[in-house]
Assembly symmetry: C2
Homo-oligomer: 377 residues x 2
C-alpha cells in the first residue's frame, strides 16, 4: 500500500474525505432547492472524481472543451453540456460525438453561431441541441435577457432546424464578492435574468425546457431557485483559497494541495525554498486582490495542518519561496530543515490541478491511490 | 500535408525559422565569447527543439526536473545539469540515471544538501558530481561568493567523497531590467560573482573546473565572459513579450504563439471572445509590471502579423477577452467575426508552452509537423 511518505514531490494530493464532504454538501443543497445538479468537470478532468459526483446524485456533466466531452463519453457518461460557445470549425467533432450516441448540448450567444450550428446539422442530416448563453452580470459572454438579440438567436436555432434546449448563465462576477448578502444578491440576479430570458423565449413561441444557472459561490448562496431546472458548479469539489476569501468554504474543506520538499534557505531573508514553483502551483494569483493575499498558497504541515502566517510568497518555474507573510523568520532553517515535506493549499484549484498529470488521492488511513487526469484540447 | 488552416484551436504554434534564428544568434554569440553553451530545456521540453540546439553547437543540456533528465537521457543526451538543488529523497532517482550511464550533474547550496549527496553516493558506491549554486543578485537560491558558507559546502562535497564539478549562478533579477547598460551590468555582476566563487574554492585547494552562468537577458548582454566556461539560457529559443520588454528580442523574433478562434462578442464593450483562455495562455501576467502591459498577450492575424493595440485583456479557463488596449472598438464584431482565427503572442513562453501537450511546428511553405512535449515530474 502506498502512503504519502512514499510520494516524490511536487505532487497533487486530493483529500478524499474532504472532497466527498464537498460533493455531499452541494448535492444536498441542490436536492433541497429542488433542482438537478450538473457538475462542471473542468476542475478535476478526472473520472473517479466525476464518478463520485454522479454517485451522489448529479445528473449529467458540464465540460469546457470537446476533449473533456470525448474523454467522459468514452468513460460511459452521455449527458454532456459543452458550456463554451462552439467555434463553427469545431462542429465536425461535435457531430462525431453525437453520432456515437452522446446526448451533447452545444451553446451559442450569437446569430452567426446559431446559424452555423443549424446549418451544419441540416447539411449532415442531424439535429443539434443548443442552449443560449445569457449574460446576467456583464462578466463575460452571453446575451442580455432583455432586447432583440435573444429572440433573434432563438429563432435562428429553432427556425434553422436545431433543437432549442434551453438557456444557461454563469455568474462569474460572484467571485468578486465576499459578504453573504452580496452573494445571495448575485445568485438572485443570475436566477432572475436567466428565468426572464426563458420566459421571453416561451412568450415568443419558442421552446425553452432547461433553465441552467451556476457558479460555486451562487450555487452555495441561492435562497430559492424558482424557475430554474438545473445548477452547475465546478470548483466546489476541491475548493481553494479564492473560495475561502469569497466565504463559501473553510480552510479545512480545501481538498486539493501540493506536496513539496524544502531544498534550501536564505536565512537572513527568512526564506525556505521548496521544489514546488509555478509549474506545480500555476501562475494563478487569484487572492492578490481579495481580503487576504496568500501569495501562491498557504503553507501546511505534511499532514495538512495549516501553519498560520506562512505562505508561498513568490515562485519560479520549479522553485517556491516560503516565508512568514508579515515578519522575517530568522529561524526558518531550523523550522523547516532541508528535506522537510510540506503541503501548499492553492489559490485556484482548477489552475493548480491543470499542472499535474495525476492526483494522489488520500483515503482514510493514509492510503494513497493514483487518479489520472488529462489535459489539452 | 497539414497546414495551419487544418488545426483545431487552441493550439501552440512554433515558427521554426524564427526559432532557428534565435538558436543561431545565441550560439554565434557564445562562440564569439569563447564559452560552451548549455541550453535550458525546461522552456520547450521537446526533443526536436533540443536537437536543433545541439545541432547548432550546444554542449549538453540544463534541466529543471529529473523527469526532463530521464526523458532526454532516454533520447540519447547524456551530459545533463539538473539545475535545481536536489531534495535528498530524490537521490535514488539520480542514482538510477547515473547507473544507466547518464553524466548527471547535481546542484546544492547548503552543507545539509552537500552532505546528503556525498553520503548517499558513498552508501551506494557511486561518486556523484555536484556543482555549488552561487547567489550573485539576491534573487532566489544559492550562496554568496564571499563568506564561509561557500567553502563549507565545497568541503562537505569534496571531503565527503563527491566530485565538486564547479559553480553555477542564474541572474534571475536581470528580468527586472529594460536598458542595455543595466543588462550589461547585470551580466557582469553575474560573471564576477561566479568567477570569484570559483577562485575562492581553488584558493582553498578545492577543485572547480566549471564556471557556469546564465539567463537569457544576461547571455545576450554580456560583453566579456573572462573566467566563465559555460553559459545557460532557456527562453531565448522561443522568446516572448517579457523578453521584448526587457529589450533582448523584437516582436518578429517571438517563435511561440497560440492559435485561437473568435467565438463571440460583447460589441458595446468592444470585446471579441476567443477559445483560448488561461488554460491555453497560462495565468502568467509577466508584462503587468513592465513598461508595456500586454494583458495575456498580443493579438496577431492568423499569419502572425501583429495587430497594433489589440491584446487579450482578461481570461477565464477557456475564454479569452480581446479588445483594443486604449479605446472601445465598437466595430469589433465586423473586424473579428465569429470564426476568425488569430494568433496570440504570450507573455512567458515557458508558462504558455507548459499548458500544451504538443507543438505545431510551422515550417517554410506553411507545412505543419506535430512535435510532442511532456510535462509532470
Amino acid at each position: 500500500m502506498t502512503h504519502i511518505s512514499d510520494l516524490d514531490t511536487p505532487a497533487a494530493l486530493v483529500d478524499v474525505p474532504r472532497m466527498q464532504g464537498n460533493i455531499d454538501r452541494m448535492q444536498a443543497r441542490m436536492d433541497r432547492l429542488g433542482v438537478r445538479f450538473r457538475p462542471h468537470v473542468k476542475t478535476s478532468k478526472c473520472l473517479p472524481v466525476v464518478q463520485a459526483q454522479l454517485d451522489a446524485g448529479a445528473r449529467g456533466i458540464t465540460v469546457s472543451t470537446l476533449k473533456e466531452a470525448e474523454e467522459f463519453f468514452d468513460a460511459g457518461i452521455d449527458d454532456i453540456l459543452y458550456a463554451v460557445c462552439i467555434a463553427p470549425a469545431r462542429l465536425p467533432r461535435a457531430l462525431a460525438l453525437q453520432r456515437r450516441g452522446c446526448d451533447l448540448k452545444l451553446v451559442t450567444d450569437s446569430v452567426a453561431g446559431a446559424e452555423a450550428i443549424a446549418r451544419f446539422g441540416k447539411a449532415h442530416g442531424e439535429v443539434f441541441e443548443a442552449w443560449i448563453e445569457i449574460d446576467t452580470d456583464g462578466n463575460r459572454s452571453g446575451i442580455p435577457p432583455e432586447g432583440d438579440a435573444l429572440l433573434a438567436v432563438g429563432r435562428a436555432l429553432h427556425d434553422g432546424g436545431a433543437r432549442l434546449g434551453g438557456v444557461m448563465a454563469h455568474a462569474g462576477s460572484s467571485y468578486d464578492h465576499d459578504r453573504p448578502e452580496a452573494l445571495r444578491a448575485a445568485a438572485e440576479q443570475e436566477r432572475h435574468g436567466t428565468v426572464r430570458a426563458a420566459e421571453r423565449l416561451r412568450q415568443a413561441g419558442l421552446p425553452c425546457p432547461v433553465v441552467s444557472v451556476g457558479s460555486t459561490p451562487t450555487a452555495l448562496s441561492a435562497q430559492a431557485l424558482d424557475g430554474v431546472t438545473e445548477v452547475r458548479a465546478g470548483v466546489y469539489v476541491f475548493f481553494d483559497l479564492v473560495m475561502l476569501n469569497v466565504g463559501v468554504c473553510t480552510m479545512d474543506e480545501i481538498a486539493l494541495s501540493v506536496l513539496t520538499t524544502v531544498i534550501g534557505h536564505q536565512p537572513e531573508k527568512g526564506w525556505a525554498i521548496v521544489d514546488a514553483g509555478w509549474m506545480a502551483m500555476s501562475r494563478d494569483r487569484g487572492t492578490q486582490k481579495q481580503k487576504h493575499d496568500f501569495g501562491y498558497g498557504q503553507v501546511c504541515m505534511e499532514d495538512g495542518t495549516p501553519i498560520a502566517g506562512y505562505v508561498m510568497d513568490s515562485a519560479n518555474q520549479e522553485h517556491g519561496i516560503l516565508c512568514h507573510a508579515d515578519s522575517i523568520d530568522h529561524g526558518i532553517t531550523e523550522r523547516f530543515p532541508v528535506g522537510t515535506r510540506l503541503r501548499i493549499l492553492p489559490n485556484h484549484a482548477c489552475a493548480t490541478a491543470a499542472q499535474h498529470p495525476e492526483y494522489h488521492a488520500i483515503f482514510p488511513g493514509d492510503e494513497v491511490r493514483t487518479w489520472p487526469r488529462f489535459y489539452g484540447w
